[in-house]
Structures are given as structure tokens and as C-alpha cells.
């Protein structure tokens, strides 16, 4: 089959499908419109799949299309079975997954997109006629070869990188960075090898070229991600998300498919922007994240200094008493809340306090937790209405009026060193001004435990701070009990 343009109706419906994807993302500009947005996304995907089936698969469609043969019907059955099988797995996983496991789920899903891109690339290589990218002599166009090679390379990198990210996030592999000696040289060499081979591929359509490209790409995804600490994984996941978008766009160029091109650009931008937001809010450069090694040394130093300064310990009863008397309470959740799964009891505590006439608000830092929007999703899960949840800029001015700043499992995001100590790894990152609140309550498990950045926190030692040392869930449960008295 020669390169023939798909009929207009199909091109139009791919365009519509692309527009649906735009509207899907657009819906996320507010929770109120987000559900409609998601339905747009589903509609767009359904349209893209249906259009392709009508176009390429021998579907029985009355007199409009040639009657399918027996073999054709078998093919159709296989396709529907594949969709049903994969879809079933996806659907069940989505329903069963715990909200706290979202980071690893996203990583796992990414790896699948990457692998799918590799398979499609290979399929196109083996059967170029079906994709309309070959000349009459079965020779694949040079431009298509480059696009195909890039698609496979990006897909394979996404696959192996996401697998490592998944293993680290799920705790199935140590989160600490694994530093191979001379890794920068090895990585650079591999990368150059891939690029060179993709270039060479335009000259030589041999199987070995694409096989080596695939293998090297799997390798580089692995090499790139293992030196990166488990806690940096969210940036990596976002970056891989972006890659998978560009892979889809490359495929779209090959297939002249508007839906794929639009999607690629959307997903590519999304991943890039989220990575940027995270790096910016952590005040780290993207390069330093990608170079890896963060979280390597098990936070030596500071330990001694830490013990010498005086701090006050409080009990659940003390906390409950003060909270009951307060007028304004601002709750700052962090990673520890997710670890302890304390969101439900926290919301319960909030309800109790509201009954006592306390004004309760939640303050979310852009990088609280381990994923953008991590805390918001957990609080939403616990039925905290989203209009009680505020972003950093919107609430930071209110701490002066707050009677209690209630820090639960957060640490770095309230660390004043970010404002004052130029040598601190988090210097320059915006933080909550909790020191302005009358009382600060700080839930964590031990004085020794540190946050993601592995640094000490002056808030522990402030006059108005009361340390509540326990597992977050346990502590909040105790406070609720004490409130009931």
C-alpha cells in the first residue's frame, strides 16, 4: 500500500479527538469543571479508537465498507479481546489502588506507555506498508526512519526509567541513589551511541540497527534513573511523562495524526511544566536533580547540635486543650501524614474543632508530600472540602492571626532555614511563616527524624513550639479522644 492520506472524515475526527484532550486538561483548572473535563478525555479517546478501527480494521459497517472476511473478523475479535483484557486490568487496578500509592501507580502506567511505543515502533518497522511509510519497494522513507527510531528510543528510555522509578517509589528497591563510577561518561557514551545509530538508520534499514537502538535505550533509562534518590522520583516521573508525550508526538508526525500530535504537545508540556514547578518550589535546578546523588549520605552532622538545644514536648491532652480554646487553627500537612495515612482522622479532628467554634483551614505547600498535589488528593479523599484548603501564597499572610499552626508530618516546608541560612540545601525555597503563629504544634515520630532535605529545623526549638512525638495517626486519634472530654 502506498502512502495515501486518510479520508477527510477521519482526519476531522482525529482533530476533534485532539480538541477533546485539550478540553480534558482545561477542565482541571477548577475542581468544579474537572469531572466534565475527564469525560471529554474519555470521549476523545473513544473517538480516536473508533476512527482507527473504522479506518483500518475490517469492521462490519453495512454497505459503506467492504464486507469483512472470516480472517478479518478473527482480527477484530483479537483486537476487542486485547482492549477488553488490558482495559479490565487497568480498571480493576484503578479501583483497588490506595490513594497513597498514586506516585508508584503513575510511574507504572508510564512504563506501559513507553513499552507500547516501543512495540508500535517495531511493528511499524516490520510492516511499514500498513503504516503507509514505505515506498513501493518496501523501503521505509528516511524521515519516517528517524521518527520511528526516536519514538522507539524515547519509548524504551521511558519504559526502563519508569520501572526503576516504580520500584523505588513502591519501596521494592532501595530508594538510596546507586552511584556507578564514571557514570557520566558511560551515560554520555550510550546517549551518543543511540543518536549515532538513529542517524545511521537512515542509511541502513537493517534489523540489527534498530535492535541495538532499543537495547541501548533500555539501558540508558536504567542508567539515568538509578543514581537518583527515591525522594527525587516525582521530578523524574514528571520528566518521563514529558518524554512519553514527545514520543507520542513523534509517532504522530509519522502517521500524520492530529490527535497524536496535539496529545504529544499537551503531555510533553505538562510533564515539563510540572518538573519545572517542583524544582522551582524546591529551589533546586533540574540538572542537579537529574545528575542524581541527592539523599545519598544518610544525613550525618547536625545530630549533635540537635540534641543540645532545648525543646518542649507536649501530650495529646495539652494539644487538645489549646486547640479547643483557639479561634483560628491552620493545619499544615506533609509527607508524614501520607506515610501515617492520617488524613481521615485529621479531618475528623477538624470536624470536632469546628463544633467547638474553631475556624480550621488547611495550608498546602506546592511540594508538600512527594508528588505535586499529593496533599490535596489525600485531603479530598478524606472529604475535606476543597474550599477549606489553601495554597501557600493565599494563606501565608494569615499566620499572624492564627492561634495554632498544626504541623502534621511536614518538615522542610516550614523550615525557616530556607529564608535565612544560605548554606542550607533548601535555601530560597518559599516556606510557611509558622513562627508568626501564637502556638506551633509539631507532630513527628522522633526528634532524630529529618525531612526529605535531611536538615535540622529551628521550629523545633522555638518558645511557642510544642513537639508531639508519635505516629501522626496515633497522635491525632489521641487528640480526638482528649477533645471529647
Amino acid at each position: 500500500m502506498m502512502e495515501t492520506a486518510p479520508p477527510s472524515w477521519a482526519m476531522l475526527s482525529y482533530l476533534v479527538s485532539g480538541v477533546c484532550f485539550i478540553l480534558a486538561l482545561r477542565g482541571l483548572s477548577s475542581p468544579a469543571t474537572s469531572r466534565r473535563g475527564n469525560r471529554f478525555g474519555m470521549a476523545g479517546m473513544a473517538l480516536a479508537v473508533m476512527t482507527t478501527l473504522l479506518l483500518k480494521a475490517p469492521v462490519p459497517a453495512g454497505d459503506f465498507l467492504p464486507q469483512p472476511t472470516q480472517a478479518d473478523l478473527v482480527t477484530l475479535g483479537q483486537i476487542l479481546a486485547a482492549i477488553g483484557f488490558g482495559g479490565g486490568i487497568g480498571f480493576v487496578t484503578a479501583r483497588k489502588i490506595k490513594m497513597t500509592d498514586m506516585p508508584q501507580l503513575v510511574a507504572a502506567f508510564h512504563s506501559l506507555v513507553g513499552m507500547a511505543a516501543v512495540l508500535v515502533g517495531w511493528a511499524a518497522y516490520l510492516n511499514p506498508e500498513a503504516f503507509g511509510i514505505a515506498g513501493a519497494d518496501g523501503i521505509i522513507h528516511a524521515q519516517s526512519r528517524v521518527e520511528m527510531g526516536l519514538g522507539i528510543a524515547i519509548g524504551a528510555t521511558t519504559f526502563s526509567g519508569s520501572i526503576i522509578a516504580f520500584l523505588k517509589l513502591a519501596g521494592k528497591m532501595s530508594g538510596s541513589p546507586i552511584m556507578i563510577p564514571a557514570r557520566h561518561v558511560i551515560n554520555l557514551g550510550t546517549l551518543l551511541g543511540i543518536i549515532g545509530l538513529v542517524g545511521y538508520f537512515t542509511q541502513d534499514q537493517g534489523l540489527w540497527v534498530i535492535a541495538v537502538v532499543t537495547a541501548l535505550s533500555f539501558l540508558i533509562g536504567f542508567l539515568l534513573i538509578i543514581p537518583i534518590g527515591g525522594a527525587d522520583m516525582p521530578v523524574v516521573v514528571s520528566m518521563l511523562n514529558s518524554y512519553s508525550g514527545w514520543a507520542a508526538a513523534a509517532m504522530g508526525f509519522t502517521l500524520h495524526n492530529t490527535a497524536m500530535i496535539i496529545t504529544g504537545a499537551l503531555v510533553g508540556s505538562s510533564g515539563a511544566i510540572l518538573s519545572y514547578i517542583m524544582c522551582k518550589a524546591m529551589n533546586r535546578s533540574f540538572l542537579s536533580v537529574i545528575a542524581g546523588g541527592f539523599g545519598a549520605a544518610p544525613e550525618a552532622g547536625g545530630g549533635a547540635a540537635r540534641e543540645q538545644r532545648p525543646w518542649k514536648r507536649g501530650s495529646a491532652e495539652d494539644a487538645a486543650f489549646l486547640l479547643k480554646e483557639a479561634e483560628n487553627v491552620i493545619i499544615i500537612p506533609g509527607y508524614g501524614m501520607a506515610v501515617a495515612q492520617a488524613q481521615h482522622v485529621l479531618r475528623e479532628m477538624g470536624d470536632q474543632l469546628k463544633k467547638h467554634g474553631v475556624n480550621v483551614k488547611y495550608a498546602i505547600h506546592p511540594v508538600a508530600g512527594r508528588m505535586p498535589g499529593h496533599m490535596n488528593v489525600l485531603l479530598a479523599e478524606a472529604n475535606v472540602p476543597y474550599d477549606e484548603v489553601f495554597e501557600l501564597e493565599d494563606i501565608n499572610g494569615e499566620f499572624a492571626q492564627a492561634d495554632v499552626a498544626f504541623i502534621i508530618g511536614a518538615n522542610d516546608v516550614v523550615n525557616p532555614a530556607a529564608k535565612t541560612d544560605k548554606s542550607s540545601p533548601i535555601y530560597g525555597m518559599p516556606v510557611f511563616d509558622v513562627d508568626k503563629a501564637k502556638t506551633v504544634m509539631f507532630i513527628k515520630r522522633s526528634m532524630g527524624g529529618v525531612g526529605y532535605a535531611g536538615v535540622d529545623n529551628d521550629v523545633f526549638y522555638m518558645d511557642q513550639t510544642m513537639m508531639l512525638l508519635a505516629d501522626a495517626k496515633k497522635m491525632v486519634e489521641d487528640i480526638i479522644k482528649a477533645l471529647a472530654h
Binding site: A48, A94, F109, H110, A124, N376, P385
Partner: protein, 113 residues
């Protein structure tokens, strides 16, 4: 479609992507990651093209099975991605509705408030 048309579409789509993503509220960044995951499975179009060929040559036969495999993987993503996004989004509620239901994440997609 000539190359310049495709390039034009791509360039404009990048602008749209840039603006659309920046307009996403930070509270919904996790659902954003999930839904972009789902839509990036549009690669399924390529998978379907491969899977739909009736394999005449040996390599076309292999291509068909690779395509079917890709269809399975992409489908996991499509259904999983949209479903998990819907599940998350159903949890974002406004104040009025909050006090009614307790604790455990209600999975109903009904909350349109």
C-alpha cells in the same frame, strides 16, 4: 498533510499545552499526572493499525502480534488512567456537601457540586 502543516499544528499545540497546563490549579496536579498518562495512550492508534493488518508475510505476522501487545498495554493505561482520575476527582467536594459522608473515599462519580 504536508510536513509544514504538521509542524504548524505541533507548534500551535505546544502553545496550547503551555497555557492549558499552567492554568491547571495546583490542587489538581495529581489528577493532571493521571489524566496526561491516560491521554498519552493515544499511541493506541498506532497499535491498532499494526494489529489490524492481516499478516501475509512473516514479518507482518510478527508486527500484528506486537500491535496486539501494544493494544493490551495501552488499554491498561486508558482504562486505568481515566478510571483513577475519575475516582480522584470524585473526591474533590465543596463545603456544602462535606459533612454528609464520612471517612472512607466514596467512589461514586456523582459529586458534581
Amino acid at each position: 498533510m504536508d510536513f509544514i502543516s504538521i509542524l504548524s499544528i505541533f507548534v500551535l499545540a505546544c502553545f496550547v499545552g503551555y497555557y492549558v497546563v499552567w492554568s491547571v490549579t495546583p490542587a489538581l496536579h495529581t489528577p493532571l499526572m493521571a489524566v496526561t498518562n491516560a491521554v498519552s495512550s493515544v499511541i493506541v492508534v498506532g497499535a491498532l493499525i499494526a494489529a489490524a493488518t492481516s499478516g501475509l508475510s512473516a514479518s507482518a505476522g510478527v508486527s500484528k502480534w506486537l500491535g496486539l501487545g501494544a493494544v493490551v498495554l495501552a488499554s491498561v493505561n486508558i482504562f486505568g488512567g481515566f478510571a483513577v482520575t475519575a475516582r480522584m476527582l470524585a473526591m474533590y467536594k465543596k463545603k456544602e456537601r462535606a459533612p454528609s459522608a464520612a471517612g472512607a473515599g466514596s467512589k461514586a462519580e456523582g459529586g458534581k457540586a
